[in-house]
């Protein structure tokens, strides 16, 4: 079944790209290879720089593919693997690529403006203000959602030492490249090898004993429960390693980018790429030769109403964001890619191509999840007696999947495969978290720096952002935070699609292919955010809930409510602008 699903996904992606996307690019947007792009016109060697389509495809894919396409499907298979797979395919086919590609085209045809500038130009000055505030909360939710996943992964004894050595290898890569001016190929070989040896060391007994000793510092073994939450116990290892993950992000935020964040991400990239290629081949080999069990153990359809997550509509559509559609991509397409595209015709393979490829990665996550219901030792992953409720952190599912699908490579034991899977996921999350924290620091300095000058200090801005993240991390149910993050992400996508619609209407082009996806995304995500806010407020009023969780739920509820209200205001302003654009286009057609 796994191979069938993978082949169907590839077929849908190829059809979507070759026929639907290419037709819109050719007939409606009419990309013109002879038209000068902002990268060429305004080439300043800083913000605007032309690069080839292949280079930008790699850049775009690396920038958009993080934890989203992996964790979302792992959580969403609780409704059944088919709804998750269908949403991935329909989402990417009709909505996902539209946003990524058209956002790049829109920015390119508007002098390389970013989302803030485009909202100002096409909607209203108020829209830009709301968008930027919205952005801060969105980033906070990324930190909360990703941070929870990383904390859970690091609590596993085979992971921290490997990750630590990989980080040190990254710092060494920075030193070798920028200070010692060594050849990049040599630097890569040395540091990637150090990282791989480090990961292997992490799986050995002595290294695990060190981590187990840390995990046991709070007493009573390595599963010491610090406090009970309404969503399960908070153990000391998860609590402690969560703080370590935030400290890691702090370094990434305040140190010079060449010193820490960039070289660590560079070494991590090789690791993630090798892991990904290995596991894709692993699924194919397992399906063909039967080396690993690839039968789907989760039913195609489980329920319309997942007790812990809610109704399939609207919750599934925000649980899976990246892979189907994600607002983050519009930020990358406008601020990053659109300013580097050398030719307009490159927008299709770069924007749409990278999005379709990401859908394949998300399909891989569906396969990992649907084939893993319990481990060989009997521990349950998805509880078949309880509506297939996910009993472990999403990271553990991926880890288990990698341990199985990498086992075809000689010398990779299940423990090593699991460690690779965990570190793979942790570095993907930490890469984004460092960038997000850095951005939150800049955002707080810009938003409140004039009123509270302390926020202009990078340490203050970073620490405040970390404290907010900490609050979310330890007082709220992570699956709810994941849904809130997905909701914010999808709303951002809805806004990007609305902007694209207004731009197309202003240009007098057909816009239904962007407008209806925008409507769907808006209605679905506002509904999902209101549901989450309602559930959070309900949980807050339970008599037996502790003060911290009442507070955590209040925060989650208020964020959900705030995002829903801002979205409605933005939609109101956006529809007014759309109406004006239509009238303008009609008047021009009349002339």
């Amino acid at each position: 079944m796994a191979l069938v699903v993978l082949i169907v996904a590839i077929a849908i992606v190829v059809i979507g790209y070759k026929f639907y996307a290419a037709a819109i690019d050719r007939n409606i947007v009419q990309a013109n290879p002879k038209k000068a792009t902002p990268a060429v016109m305004y080439n300043d060697g800083v913000d605007f720089m032309p690069a080839s389509g292949s280079v930008l495809f790699g850049y775009q894919f690396k920038s958009i593919a993080a934890l989203g396409p992996i964790v979302g499907p792992i959580v969403a298979v609780q409704w059944g693997w088919l709804p998750a797979f269908l949403w991935l395919m329909l989402g990417v086919f009709f909505i996902g690529w539209v946003q990524d590609y058209a956002a790049a085209m829109m920015a390119m045809r508007n002098e390389g403006l970013t989302m803030g500038g485009l909202a100002y130009k096409f909607i209203s000055p108020r829209a830009r203000g709301i968008l930027l505030t919205f952005l801060y909360f969105y980033l906070l939710l990324i930190m909360g959602a990703f941070g929870a996943v990383v904390a859970g992964l690091l609590a596993n004894p085979v992971v921290p030492i490997g990750l630590l050595i990989l980080t040190l290898a990254g710092v060494l890569a920075g030193q070798m490249t920028y200070r010692w001016k060594m050849d990049l190929v040599m630097t890569t070989i040395i540091t990637v090898l150090i990282a791989l040896v480090g990961i292997w060391l992490g799986t050995t007994g002595p290294a695990q004993n060190i981590v187990k000793a840390i995990n046991g510092l709070a007493g009573t073994g390595d599963k010491h429960i610090l406090y009970q939450t309404p969503y399960g116990p908070m153990t000391w290892p998860v609590f402690f390693w969560g703080i370590v993950a935030l400290a890691f992000c702090y370094l990434g935020s305040v140190l010079a980018i060449w010193r820490f964040a960039q070289p660590v991400n560079y070494v991590s990239f090789w690791f993630v790429a090798l892991g990904l290629i290995g596991s894709v081949l692993g699924v194919a080999i397992a399906a063909i030769f039967g080396t690993t069990d690839v039968a789907f153990h989760i039913p195609a359809f489980v329920t319309w109403n997942q007790p812990k997550l809610g109704w399939l509509w609207p919750m599934l559509f925000v649980t899976i964001s990246c892979g189907a559609i994600s607002g983050w991509h519009s930020l990358v397409s406008t601020a990053g890619t659109a300013r580097q595209l050398e030719k307009e015709t490159d927008a299709l393979p770069v924007g749409a191509g990278a999005m379709f490829t990401e859908a394949i990665l998300a399909t891989l996550a569906v396969i990992f999840a649907a084939t893993a219901i319990a481990k060989p030792d009997g521990s349950v992953i998805y509880d078949a007696n309880n509506m297939y409720f996910l009993k472990v952190k999403a990271g553990a599912v991926w880890m288990y999947g990698m341990s199985r699908f990498l086992s075809w490579i000689p010398g990779i034991s299940p423990a090593m495969g699991g460690a690779i899977g965990a570190i793979f996921l942790a570095v993907m999350a930490l890469t984004v978290m460092q960038l997000v924290l850095r951005f939150m620091r800049v955002a707080s300095a810009e938003l409140v720096g004039d009123k509270i000058p302390a926020f202009k200090n990078p340490h203050v801005g970073t620490i405040v952002a970390i404290l907010f993240t900490f609050l979310i991390l330890w007082t709220a149910f992570w699956q709810r935070i994941w849904v809130l993050f997905g909701g914010a992400n999808q709303l951002f996508a809805g806004l990007a699609l609305l902007l694209i619609t207004i731009w197309l209407a202003n240009e007098g082009k057909k816009y239904a292919w962007a407008f209806w996806p925008a409507v769907f995304m808006y209605i679905t995500t506002v509904a999902a955010l209101l549901v989450v806010a309602w559930k959070s407020f309900q949980a807050m009023t339970k008599p037996d809930i502790g003060a911290a969780f009442a507070f955590g739920n209040a925060v989650a509820g208020l964020i959900g409510l705030f995002l829903a209200i801002t979205a409605i205001v933005l939609a109101y302003d956006g529809l007014k602008s759309l109406s004006k654009a239509r009238q303008k286009a009609a008047a021009q057609a009349g002339d």
Binding site: G45, S54, G116, G117, L132, L135, A335, V442
Partner: protein, 92 residues
Amino acid sequence: MTEKEKRSFLTKMLHSIQDVIYGMASHDMARQALKTRGSMEHLFILITMGDLLGVPILPPYYSLRLLPYVVPQISTWKRRMLRERDLTDALA
């Protein structure tokens, strides 16, 4: 497809794969280095040629001595200095 065409096709494909890997692994690093250099250069031009934007800093004698080296970059420098920005620019 002739042998020559096959070779050319394979070479092109290899180049594309190289480019994709470079885009994923190193493009950001190269861009960041160029950005740092560009920002330093633009800062230097602001110090020496600030009067072009109404910021008189150095005596014109030094500005004039440096002018031939700066001329090729003046237009992009002015555009960058005067371009409106917001938070979403920081993601680029």
